[in-house]
C-alpha cells in the first residue's frame, strides 16, 4: 500500500509539530535548565524538517499516481480476506482471549485463516490444536505466564 509522498511528508511534519506543542506543555523541574521537554522538542524539530523534505520531494515529483495505491492487493481476494481476518482476529483477542481462553480462541482464529490459505483440514486442525496446546503448555505451565484457559478444559 503506497501512499503519496505529499501525504506522507505532511503527516510527519504535523506529527513533528504536534510533538513540539505537546512537549512544551511538560513542566520542567525547578532548578534545572534541561527538562523532560528538551528531547521531544528536538525529535519534533527533526521530524518536521525531514517531513517537509519528503513533502517537498513529493510536490516536485507529483505525477498522475493515485494518492493511495492499493494495486499490490489487486486480484488477491484471499490475501485481502486473510489480512482483514488477521487484523480483526488479533484485535478481537484483546476483549475475547480472557473469556474464551487460548485453545478455543486459537482454534476460532487460526482455522479460518488456514482454510483461506487453502490448507487441507486434515493438516490444519492438528496443526492449530498442536500449536495452541504447545503455546499454552510452554508459556502457561513451564514459564508460569497466566494465560487464560477459558472454556475448554485442558489435558493437564
Amino acid at each position: 500500500m503506497r501512499i503519496d509522498d505529499r501525504l506522507v511528508g505532511l503527516f510527519f511534519s504535523l506529527l513533528g509539530l504536534a510533538t513540539i506543542l505537546a512537549a512544551r506543555r511538560l513542566s520542567s523541574v525547578p532548578g534545572t535548565t534541561y527538562g523532560p521537554d528538551l528531547m521531544p522538542i528536538l525529535i519534533g524539530l527533526g521530524m518536521m524538517g525531514f517531513g517537509l523534505k519528503i513533502l517537498w520531494a513529493g510536490v516536485a515529483a507529483a505525477g498522475t499516481a493515485p494518492w493511495i495505491d492499493l494495486s499490490a492487493w489487486n486480484g488477491r481476494t484471499r490475501g485481502v480476506l486473510s489480512a482483514v481476518w488477521t487484523i480483526l482476529g488479533v484485535a478481537a483477542s484483546i476483549p475475547l482471549l480472557d473469556t474464551l481462553g487460548l485453545p478455543l480462541y486459537g482454534l476460532l482464529f487460526c482455522l479460518p485463516l488456514m482454510i483461506l490459505a487453502r490448507a487441507r483440514l486434515i493438516v490444519a486442525v492438528p496443526a492449530v490444536l498442536g500449536t495452541v496446546l504447545v503455546a499454552q503448555f510452554v508459556f502457561g505451565e513451564m514459564l508460569h505466564v497466566p494465560l487464560p484457559a477459558g472454556l475448554i478444559p485442558l489435558p493437564w
Binding site: 500500500m1 528538551l38 527533526g46 517531513g51 490475501g79 488477521t86 484483546i94
Partner: protein, 501 residues
C-alpha cells in the same frame, strides 16, 4: 583476560541449560531461517518473550545461536529458490542459484554454511580479543563519549538502512519518540502517557518488535505472490564434499572476507548486512577470473559468506562493549541484557568479566554447531521448503499474541503489537526502514540520559561536547555523517543547475 575469568566463563557456558539453549536456539533458527519469507530478525523477535524467563547467559546464548543459524539457513532458499533469506544473502543469491542450476546445489549450500561458520568463529575470536581491550579504554569514557557513540550508531543506522536518508532519519525519530513515552529519565515525571497506567513504564520494545518484524511481515506476505517455485531435486553429492579444496584454492578470499566482515560489523550502527555486498564486489574486483562471476563461481560465495557471519559476530563488539547495538538483532539483545539488569558497557567487563566472556564463548559454540546442523539442513532442505506457508503463518500469529501478552501478563502488549505491526507494514511499504526504529527505541533512554547529563556538565555550551579528545573525534565523525546527505544534495543541485544553464 586472565585464566580465572576464562575458566569461570567456561564453567558458565558448559552448564546444561546453556548448552540446551544453544542447541534449541540453533534448531529453531535453522527452521525459521530456511523457510522463505521468515527472517532471522523475526525469529529473534518471537524468541524474546521466552528469553524473558531465562537466566542471562542462556537467554543471550539462545539469541546468538538462533541468529547465527537463521542467517546461515537463509542461504538455503537463496540457493534453491533464488529467494534470499536475509538482506546480506541477497548479495550473492544469484551466484548460489547459478551453481544450483549447474546441478551443484549441495555445493552452494555447503559453501554458505561452512564458510559462514568459519567466518563466525573468526568474528567471535575478534570479539574475545578486542572486546575486553576496548572495554578498558571505554572505562574512561564520560557522558560525552557515550552520547557521541549512541549518536554515531543511530546516525549510521539511519543512513545505511535506506536509499533516502530522510526516510531513515524519520524511522529513527519514530523510535526515539516512542522511547520518550513513560517516566522521564531525568526528572521521573510522566511524559506522553495520556493518563494510562500501562504507559507509565514506557512502551516495551518486545511487542513493538514482534509487531514490526513478525506481524508486518505476515501482512506483507498476503499481498505478495505466495506460490513458490518447486525446489530443484538434490543430487547424491555429500554435503561439504570439496570444501577443503576450496579452502586451499581461495585462502585470500576467505581472509579478506573475514577481515572485512569483522571490521564493518564492528562499526556502531552498521551491522553485518553491508559487509556481504562489499565483500562480493571486492571479490570480483580482485579475482583473476572476474568473467566467471554470476555463472555459479565459488570464489565470490566463499568471500561473501565468510564476511557475512564474521560481521554478525563482530556486530556484538559495540553492543557489548559500549551498549550501542549495530543492528536490529543486537538491539534486541541489548534490550534483553537491560531487562536482565546486566547493563552492557565497559563496566560489565570491569565488574563482572566472566559474564561477557561467557556470552562471547557462546558464539564459538553456536558457530561450531552450524557445521553438523548445517549438514542436516542440507540433507533435509527440500522437506523444510515443503512446509506450507498456510500452516506456518497462523502458528507465528499465535506465538506473537502469546509472546506480547507474556511481557506484562496483560492484553495491552497485544494492542501494542497490533499497532506496531500495522505501522511497520505501512512504513516499510513506503520505504521507511524498520531497524532504525528498534535501535532508536532501545538506545533512546541511553542517548537522552547522556545528552542531558552532558548539557548540564557543559552548562549548555555545545562546544563542551568537543573538549575531550575521543569525544571530539566521534563528534566530528557524527557531524560529517549528518552533513554528508546535505553535501550530496548540494552537489546534485549544482550539477542540475550547471546542466540547465
Amino acid at each position: 583476560m586472565d585464566a580465572d575469568t576464562f575458566l569461570t566463563a567456561l564453567g558458565i557456558v558448559m552448564q546444561a541449560d546453556v548448552l540446551l539453549a544453544v542447541a534449541g536456539g540453533a534448531i529453531y533458527g535453522l527452521f525459521i531461517g530456511a523457510v522463505p519469507g521468515l527472517t532471522a530478525t523475526m525469529a529473534t523477535a518471537l524468541l524474546v518473550p521466552v528469553t524473558f524467563y531465562m537466566a542471562p547467559v542462556p537467554a543471550i546464548a539462545t539469541i546468538v545461536a538462533t541468529t547465527a543459524m537463521a542467517i546461515t539457513a537463509g542461504d538455503i532458499p537463496g540457493a534453491l529458490l533464488r529467494i534470499p533469506g536475509t538482506p546480506a544473502s541477497a548479495a550473492y543469491v544469484d551466484e548460489a542459484y547459478a551453481l544450483t542450476l549447474k546441478g551443484k546445489a549441495e555445493l552452494a549450500m555447503s559453501i554458505s554454511i561452512f564458510f559462514s561458520a568459519c567466518g563466525g568463529l573468526v568474528g567471535a575470536l575478534a570479539l574475545l580479543v578486542i572486546g575486553p581491550a576496548l572495554a578498558r579504554i571505554a572505562l574512561n569514557f564520560s557522558s560525552f563519549e557515550f552520547f557521541w557513540l549512541a549518536m554515531l550508531g543511530l546516525m549510521t543506522s539511519a543512513l545505511v538502512s535506506s536509499r533516502d536518508p530522510a526516510r531513515g532519519f524519520i524511522s529513527l525519530l519514530i523510535g526515539l519518540l516512542i522511547a520518550t513515552v513513560g517516566l522521564d529519565v531525568t526528572s521521573g515525571q510522566p511524559r506522553f502517557t495520556f493518563g494510562s497506567v500501562e504507559l507509565m513504564g514506557g512502551v516495551s520494545f518486545i511487542p513493538v518488535m514482534i509487531g514490526m518484524f513478525a506481524f508486518a511481515e505476515i501482512l506483507r506476505g498476503y499481498s505478495s505472490n505466495a506460490t513458490l517455485p518447486p525446489p530443484p531435486k538434490l543430487g547424491a553429492a555429500r554435503p561439504y564434499k570439496g570444501i577443503g579444496r576450496l579452502f586451499k584454492r581461495y585462502p585470500f578470499s576467505f581472509l579478506r572476507g573475514v577481515t572485512l566482515g569483522t571490521s564493518v560489523g564492528a562499526l556502531p550502527g552498521v551491522g553485518g548486512d553491508v559487509g556481504a555486498w562489499i565483500a562480493y564486489g571486492m571479490s570480483r574486483r580482485f579475482s583473476k577470473t572476474p568473467e566467471k562471476y554470476g555463472t555459479g563461481h565459488e570464489e565470490g560465495l566463499v568471500e561473501a559468506t565468510s564476511c557475512n557471519n564474521a560481521g554478525l559476530s563482530s556486530a556484538w563488539i559495540p553492543a557489548l562493549v559500549f551498549g550501542i547495538p549495530g543492528d536490529a538483532v543486537t538491539a534486541i539483545a541489548v534490550g534483553v541484557l537491560f531487562m536482565k539488569g546486566l547493563n552492557p558497557g565497559p563496566r560489565l567487563f570491569a565488574e563482572n568479566p566472566s559474564m561477557p566472556t561467557a556470552i562471547i564463548m557462546t558464539f564459538f559454540l553456536a558457530n561450531l554447531l552450524l557445521i553438523p546442523l548445517g549438514y542436516l539442513a542440507i540433507r533435509s532442505a527440500r522437506h523444510i521448503l515443503a512446509v506450507p506457508r498456510a500452516v506456518i503463518v497462523p502458528i507465528i500469529l499465535i506465538f506473537s499474541i502469546v509472546g506480547s501478552f507474556a511481557i506484562n501478563n496483560t492484553m495491552f502488549g497485544v494492542g501494542v503489537m497490533l499497532a506496531a505491526g500495522l505501522a511497520g507494514y505501512l512504513l516499510e511499504e513506503n520505504g521507511f526502514p524498520i531497524a532504525p526504529i528498534i535501535l532508536g527505541l532501545v538506545l533512546g533512554p541511553v542517548l537522552e540520559r547522556n545528552f542531558i547529563m552532558s548539557m548540564q556538565i557543559a552548562d549548555g555550551n555545545l562546544l563542551g561536547f568537543f573538549e575531550r579528545p575521543i569525544a571530539a573525534v566521534l563528534g566530528v565523525v557524527v557531524c560529517l555523517l549528518l552533513l554528508l546527505p546535505l553535501l550530496r544534495g548540494l552537489v546534485r543541485w549544482r550539477g542540475r543547475a550547471a546542466n540547465a544553464s
